[in-house]
Structure formats: C-alpha cells, structure tokens
C-alpha cells in the first residue's frame, strides 16, 4: 500500500470528528477530568486536552499546563480497554415465565472510533484480541472490536514510568490503526501529520481536508525518537518467563507483600488485565440481570472455594499470581507477554511498587 503522508491542520480536527460521527460512530478519546486524562465520549476537539502534560513516577501522577499541544502527555489511568471490555456489562436479562425463564440478550453497542490511541494501547488491544477472540470468542468484545475505527497518535514524549521499547510495543505506532496522527507545533502552525494504516483509514482520509506533507514527512519518526530517548526504564525480558517460573518460592514475594496493600489498582489500570466476575441482580419487577464486572486477582475472594476458603489467602501469593501471570504464564496461554510497558501499574500503585524493579529482583534471584 502506497501511503503518502499528508497534513491535517489543527483547525480541521473538527472535520475528523464530524466525518466519524457521520458514519454513525461515537468518538472516544482523551479528556481532562478530576486531575487526570481519561478516555470518554467526545463531542468534538474542544473536549481534548489542551496544553496539558503529565508527570509520572512510582505512586505519582500529576498534570500541569505547558504549551498548546493536544497529545503531549503519555498515558492516564484508563486505557481503551474499558470501551472494548467494559468494566460493567449486562450479559443477559432473564424474565420469569410460567414454569421457567426467558433470556434476552443485550443490544449491540454503536460502532466506536478511538481517538488518540498510542502504540502501547494498540499493543494491549492486540493482546486482548488473543484473549477474547481465541478458541472461545467473547461476543461482547468481538462486536465492539469488529467495527472499531482507530485514530492513533504518535508519542513525542514519555513519562518516567514508560518502558514500552523493552516490551517491543512502542513508542512508534506501526500497525493496527486506521489513521495515525503526529502532532507538530512550530512557527508554521499547529498541525498533524497523517499516516494511513488501513483501507478504512484511506476511505476516511479521502473525506478530510488534507494537504501534502513536505518538510513534515519525517515528523512521525522524529517524534518516536524523541520519546524513546526519554525512556530509561527497561524490563529485563531476557529469559524472564523461565526465571519467574523458577522464582515461585522466592522470599521476594513476602517482601513485596509487606509493601503491597492489595488494592487492585494495578489490575484496574492495566490495559490487558481481563479478569471478570459476575453479579446476579434482581429488580423489583422480578427481572433478573447477570452483570459481568471487572475483577482482580488481588481480591481475596477471587480464588475462593466453598469449604476451603481462598486458594491465595496471602497478599504475597496474590502478587505472585498477578506478576507471574502478566510476565510469564501469559506466554503459555496466549503466546505473548501480558505487559506492554505502559507503566500505569507503576504510577497508580499507592505504594509505588514498580513492576520493573520487582521483576529485576526476582530475575536476579533465579
């Protein structure tokens, strides 16, 4: 596919939104709320962050104002996971009949366009594709995923918590998108270099007021290089799976347990964690709903067995399950690591526990 790079002027961002809306899509993208950048349904470009950058460190996330860019932050507490694998989803509704019950399935959601998906988000999506579209297909994920339009964004800045290069997932967006944007702000103005990643992207681009990129053509590569130069954190991926599987009895688990408060934040902010539980809710009119909700292996009840209690009753065992699953047994299950190096679990851990540091110590032990 021949993909000449083109330019979308900042003032034409609204046209991008309008074109996506005209296809019947809801546009989901970043917006500032409660001191953080979250992904929500956006009406137009005015909802995007403006001149906001983030500062992140273990146990720390702050926004501050700087410049006029829309996408010069790294990742917030949410990932696009919540739009493909919602935190709460009705599996079915059942109503009583004379002798039994009748089941009614939920309606399919409207098609979505994701705006501002970074390389790590796309990598996480590819991992969740393997989870939910494997030998058993989750129809809820599949229906959301099938009609998705993805407007990616190239990172030009990294947080101190980022480690995507060592996970092979970024910072450059190179596949799995329809259109990608690289933001450029200079004397010549505020604009986006547009790359086309799919036929759907090409079709949409044809409806946008794009013009040829001349001097900006290498902006995506320059942005990625700039972001990558800022990334010092490295996951020790060499033989990590084997090392972690060999560290089952390591005393480091107890050490982590002395710091971990078992809050489950890491699993909730993780863009690949997929575990769910189900709640059964009966309304006053006798209708029954089965609701699927995100769950976490950090909850003691997660492994609960009647008569025996939780299989993993200690925090150390639960942390071991999370980390070993993410970095080791995920390979056995899905042929890939479960980590994309987004660093969310590092920033959003109230105790500042750093998955990279823990993996390093465990790998040394082995």
């Amino acid at each position: 596919m021949h993909n000449p790079r083109t330019i979308l002027s900042h003032s034409d961002l609204g046209t991008l939104f309008a074109t996506l809306h005209a296809e019947g899509r809801h546009t989901i993208g970043p917006t500032v709320r409660d001191g953080a950048i979250v992904y929500d349904r956006l009406i137009g470009p005015d909802d995007l962050p403006t001149g906001v950058v983030d500062e992140q460190a273990p146990g720390r996330y702050r926004l501050r104002h700087e410049g006029t860019r829309r996408f010069s932050w790294s990742v917030g507490p949410q990932s696009f996971k919540r739009w493909l694998h919602p935190p709460e989803l009705r599996l079915f509704r059942a109503t009583r009949t004379e002798r039994g019950f009748a089941v009614e399935k939920p309606e399919a959601p409207p098609p979505l366009a994701l705006i501002g998906a970074r390389a790590c988000e796309l990598a996480a999506m590819a991992i969740q594709d393997r989870v939910f579209l494997g030998d058993v297909v989750d129809p809820h994920y599949a229906s959301r995923r099938r009609d998705l339009f993805i407007v990616a964004v190239q990172c030009d800045r990294a947080a101190s918590t980022c480690f995507c290069p060592s996970m092979g997932s970024g910072p450059r967006v190179s596949r799995g998108y329809d259109l990608s944007l690289t933001e450029v702000v200079d004397e010549a103005g505020h604009r986006f270099v547009v790359e086309i990643g799919s036929e759907a992207g090409r079709a949409l681009a044809a409806k946008l007021p794009l013009h040829a990129a001349t001097t900006d053509a290498d902006a995506p590569e320059r942005a990625s290089a700039e972001a990558e130069a800022q990334i010092a954190r490295r996951m020790p991926t060499d033989g990590l799976r084997e090392k972690l599987l060999g560290a089952v009895a390591s005393s480091n688990w107890d050490d982590v347990a002395s710091r971990c408060i078992g809050c489950a934040n890491c699993t909730l902010v993780c863009p690949t964690c997929f575990c769910t539980t189900v709640d059964d809710v009966t309304t006053l009119d006798g209708t029954h709903e089965r609701v699927r909700r995100w769950d976490s292996c950090f909850h003691p009840d997660f492994s609960y067995l009647h008569g025996a209690g939780p299989v993993r009753s200690s925090v150390g065992a639960r942390y071991r399950q999370w980390l070993t699953h993410k970095l080791a047994t995920w390979h056995d299950q899905f042929g890939t690591s479960g980590c994309v190096g987004c660093g969310r679990c590092v920033a959003w851990c109230p105790a500042g526990i750093d998955i990279v540091a823990e993996a390093e110590r465990l790998a040394e032990d082995a």
Binding site: L305, H306, G307, A308
Partner: protein, 151 residues
C-alpha cells in the same frame, strides 16, 4: 499347632519377610483366638498384656463413648500398650463381626525382645510401622477433609 500358627502369621504382609527363626520365636508367644460379633475383648483401663493380629472380620476401636473411632481388619495389628508402662489399654476393642485373630502375649514378647535386641528391633519395627500408618491416617482424618463441598 505352633507350625500352623507360623503359616498364619507369615500370611500377613506385616510379617511376611520375617526370617524363619524370628517367625518361630514370635509364634512361641502366639495363639489363635476367636471372638463373637458384639464381644468386647479389650477394655479401656484394664491391663494391656496382649496384641492382636487380625486375620478375619472387623474390630472396632472405641476411644471414648459409643462411636467407633477406627476399625481394624485383616492384617492390622491391634494394641501396643503392652510395650509401654503402665501397660494399660486406652481404648475398647469390640468385635463388629465374628473375628479370628492371632493373640500375641505381651509379657512373653517383651522378655524375648529384651533378651534379643536384634529380634526386638525386628518386632519393634513392625509395631512402629503400624503406629506410623495409624498416625498418618489420624492426621488426615483430623483435617476433616469432607467438611467442604466439592462439586
């Protein structure tokens, strides 16, 4: 008669590898016994001067109250209190069915074991093995493993 006893003892796995000489030595302290169903042939607190190697039938061991704590069947050895002072039974043994057993005389065995420590060790090993298995089973049972469901 004594020769028949040796064959009967030899038939039980616990003693099937005992040397001929030791078997003969052991049989010298043994005799055949039979109990009717319902018969209580060992009573808590009484003098423990015997062991029983069960050959047929089922013996119920009652530690306290009326419930059976454990049963002994063919090949099981019941009673080792004769080995240790104050030589008192700490359970009742009740024949749940008609029972045939080989009774081993405690005083006789003790004397032979004391005078011939090598023989004593052969015998002690076997009693210890029984005690070891019983302890293993008791530990497992103490966990009350069936209290939880399994679906």
């Amino acid at each position: 008669m004594t020769e028949g006893l040796e064959a009967l003892i030899r038939r039980q796995p616990l003693f099937d590898d005992l040397s001929e000489a030791d078997l003969k030595h052991l049989a010298g302290c043994a005799r055949n016994v039979k109990f009717d169903a319902g018969e209580i042939f060992v009573r808590h607190g009484e003098e423990a001067d015997r062991s029983f190697l069960v050959r047929a039938g089922r013996v119920g061991l009652v530690v306290h109250g009326r419930d059976i704590a454990e049963t002994a069947e063919e090949g099981d050895l019941v009673g080792w209190s004769w080995l240790f002072p104050p030589y008192r039974w700490h359970f009742d043994a009740k024949a749940l069915t008609a029972v045939r057993a080989i009774e081993l005389d405690g005083a006789c065995l003790r004397a032979k074991c004391e005078s011939d420590p090598r023989f004593g060790f052969e015998i002690a090993k076997r009693f210890l093995y029984q005690a070891h298995r019983r302890l293993e089973h008791t530990r497992l049972r103490a966990m009350d493993v069936y209290k939880g469901p399994l679906t």
